[in-house]
Symmetry: D2
């Protein structure tokens, strides 16, 4: 049976009775909790929760659930987001010259590793367009120069709207987005940086890692904010290297990290498992 679940993400100041109130709400309306996960940050005094319940015998129609939650949320000062498990989020991929993350995401989507559509790919490199179209994905070539940047970004924002995009994934996209663009999709733009942030922010992180002589390299997926490589971290992974590894070897090993770490972030976001507070994330796996 493919019945539908409701997924509620919420955060608020910690206080007595939060778990009881929220779980009672589901129980009293005859819902069955499938997953419940909560976290209280001792340093900020904030409470975070992800609740997933089955709607099979739930006695509130799904289109009215939000209305019923509203007063409850106001009472506790909750920020909240409600989604349903049959909704398929829509991703726009941005890609430049390096295509391994792009290919990886397209393949994972096809093999059903995460539930999302990719109706739009934007590239600032014309040579990728035929390749993308060959894969049956709609693509737009939008070159960026310092002079055209803001105008081109407006075009991109219009496309995101036209294609009803839920979130943007920068799959090794080599352009820095403007503040305007970033603020149009707050915590909805995911980037992959090919280092273990905060080490080696900025350009050529593998070269930086080689020059510093580290024994482990990493990759970091994070939400994009206005400060470069500084947004809330979603996932990280690392692998060992040695003095035998040239910069090219490091790049090769790093590509596997990038693919895995970016795919993990995309899946977590698509499944509504991430709550952001300040510069940090709570991940409900």
């Amino acid at each position: 049976m493919n019945s539908v679940n409701a997924i509620l993400l919420l955060s608020c100041p910690d206080q007595k009775g939060l778990v009881a109130t929220v779980s009672n709400f589901v129980f009293q309306h005859n819902g069955n909790i499938i997953h419940a996960d909560q976290h209280t940050s001792q340093t900020t005094g904030l409470f975070f929760m992800r609740l997933e319940w089955n709607l099979d015998h739930f006695d509130i129609p799904r289109e009215e659930i939000g209305e019923v939650i509203k007063p409850l949320a106001e009472q506790f000062g909750m920020t909240w987001h409600l989604q349903f498990s049959d909704y398929v989020p829509r991703i726009a991929l941005f890609v430049s010259r390096h295509v391994h993350c792009f290919h990886d995401l397209i393949l994972r989507k096809r093999m059903g590793e995460f539930k999302a559509d990719i109706p739009l790919v934007i590239s600032n490199h014309p040579e990728l367009i035929p390749l993308i179209e060959h894969l049956g994905v709609h693509s737009e070539y939008i070159p960026i120069t310092p002079e055209t940047k803001l105008a081109q970004e407006d075009k991109e924002l219009a496309l995101l709207k036209e294609y009803r995009i839920d979130f943007v994934v920068l799959a090794r996209y080599m352009q820095i987005l403007s503040g305007k663009f970033v603020s149009a999709y707050p915590h909805r733009i995911i980037n992959i940086h090919h280092s273990f942030l905060p080490a080696f922010a900025g350009s050529k992180p593998y070269q930086q890692a080689y020059d510093r002589g580290v024994k482990i390299i990493g990759a970091t997926s994070h939400y994009v904010t206005e400060i470069l490589d500084d947004g809330p971290i979603i996932a990280q992974d690392v692998t060992k290297i040695s003095h035998r590894d040239s910069v090219e070897d490091i790049m090769l090993k790093g590509k596997d990290l990038e693919r895995i770490v970016l795919a993990r972030a995309v899946r977590l976001h698509a499944e509504n498992r991430i709550l952001v507070h300040g510069s940090k994330t709570v991940i409900f796996e």
Copy 2:
């Protein structure tokens, strides 16, 4: 403020209203939930929960909490265990010839890495006794031969009782315990096996790993059951090896794994974070 928390571990068949009922119980008696973690096994239909709440304004005296929980638990068919955060569990260490895990646990205890007492160490090797006593720990030398085994185990069981031991840790203890002994402390005897179980069960796992030519070795902490190296797994960790590693190199690398994996299991058990079902564990970290 060093106020006391109650920690409730429970499991029962999954059913609607479990989270609501349990969290209501705490809320209505004015308790503040510090941590709540639950899990539903889709294959067995079992529900597991660990609930930790602060007793500062809780309106049931701690010695009566169990009585109040009882009818609630019966209603849902719950197996449950209640403990308080100011209780310091008492461990008996069993040790043979290899002392790295023994030393490691003594040191971690001293440095406060887990909250437990170690009032008793039992060794079947006489040469360890002065070393153990030098560390200020009470020890008993109990040699084991096939003929004396059952009688000596009775002596050990009497000591465990005398010292009010909560759980036993086999820190590379090289004797197989009898069924009688094991069943006296069900899911309360923790062993460290120096392989990635179920690979290389039995004796000389590092030699077995070397002979097979694996590229990764491991260590496994588990509860002891009557079948050797077959009990519910608590923690595992691994490290890479190569053709350059001799059996001695593998042993050396393995010792670090053993220390970490056994210490992790001891801490998890001491903090009431483990629920056993069948041959598996639920770990609430």
Copy 3:
């Protein structure tokens, strides 16, 4: 400059003067050693070496090098294999129903992550053929039943010959090869098994891992021998799981391991970095 290197892999009983003799041979003929790696197994008394040198000013023509090595090798009882860095090995991929490893290898080859051609893909599932052909790779549909197995394998062996295949990669191929087939390509058939061997050999390893309640899962690439899942191990990797992971979650996490571990084995073999002795491998990375 894309000059050519010679790569010599050798093994023999350990004895004095081996490194000196081999490196002198290169030096006296005006070769420049790029990489030299050796290993002596203390348990077997065997010596292994991989030597890579540049042929730019080497004074023996490449087609005669083998002839000159022959008497040297005989003197020390060496088993040896000579190859040149401009040779592109030819791979046949065998694939069944799970296509993630197949896709991964095709993509890595395209992106230049290893140097090899894949002129032939064989599948026992007809529905994959159009997909494979769409990727521009030649494929053959060869169904296998217990009755047709040996005849069909003869057809496969003929194809391997026709396409001048150097080594075979079983990219989640779900058929057990006959002894005849295996012995036609000794240490030249690479399989990926989706467990941390020797744990969970045989069928449904992820289900086995779930049932046993392990906390870490793995994948193993190995050479195929006549005994199932028992050949010399080339590479292994692992990832952590918890009680929260269903069999489906474990499969998903395992797929990333399988891709990486199989790709690593293919690259190592294609670059002549593997020496087999008995049931073990020496890997010169």
Copy 4:
């Protein structure tokens, strides 16, 4: 048989015939090479080698080997270091308030995990002195204030000389050494920094990691240079954390990393397995 090996570490500009010349030297004097490892850095054009050979039938007396190597080394412009396997290096441990690395190294030494003596421990905290002496190790209490720093360091340098110390290990020593001190033991002072350098250099790295919201923490052992936390990295390791980990949890997990990573560096240095070039290390494992 406990026969003695010679261990030669060397580096020089890469050139033809290096491996042949060095291995011939050993062969012609009837030595048996036990391990040989070399590396050529493509970016710097430098050649590095570690050669270990058995002296059983070597026809040069050990005290004259250096003299024979000298002209060979001059011919190729080699920097070199010769040591014998029966030499036991002498370590001075510096320790402040955190004692886990100190205890770990003392225990590993006792259990024979590395071959070195620890004849001297220096602490700037008086309360550690009785603890250290109880372990049977000689200790000196040398408090440091900004005013007394240079004078106290002179006292320390005198002690290092008196105790014929080969290398210094800062086992979570919380004082920054002066340039004078550092230059007296170039590449012979090993520090453990409790972060994944270059991330979180300086003070309170675990707090920094918590504040940044990273998903992985690390530890780094490195040689001390005049610039804080900037010296050549010897070893690094990492472990995963999540939003559930408080700063205290991170510290606890980090302590295991620190112990392992520092012990690895001490063993590598004691066994003459490290060559430094510029800000990087070559590690011959």
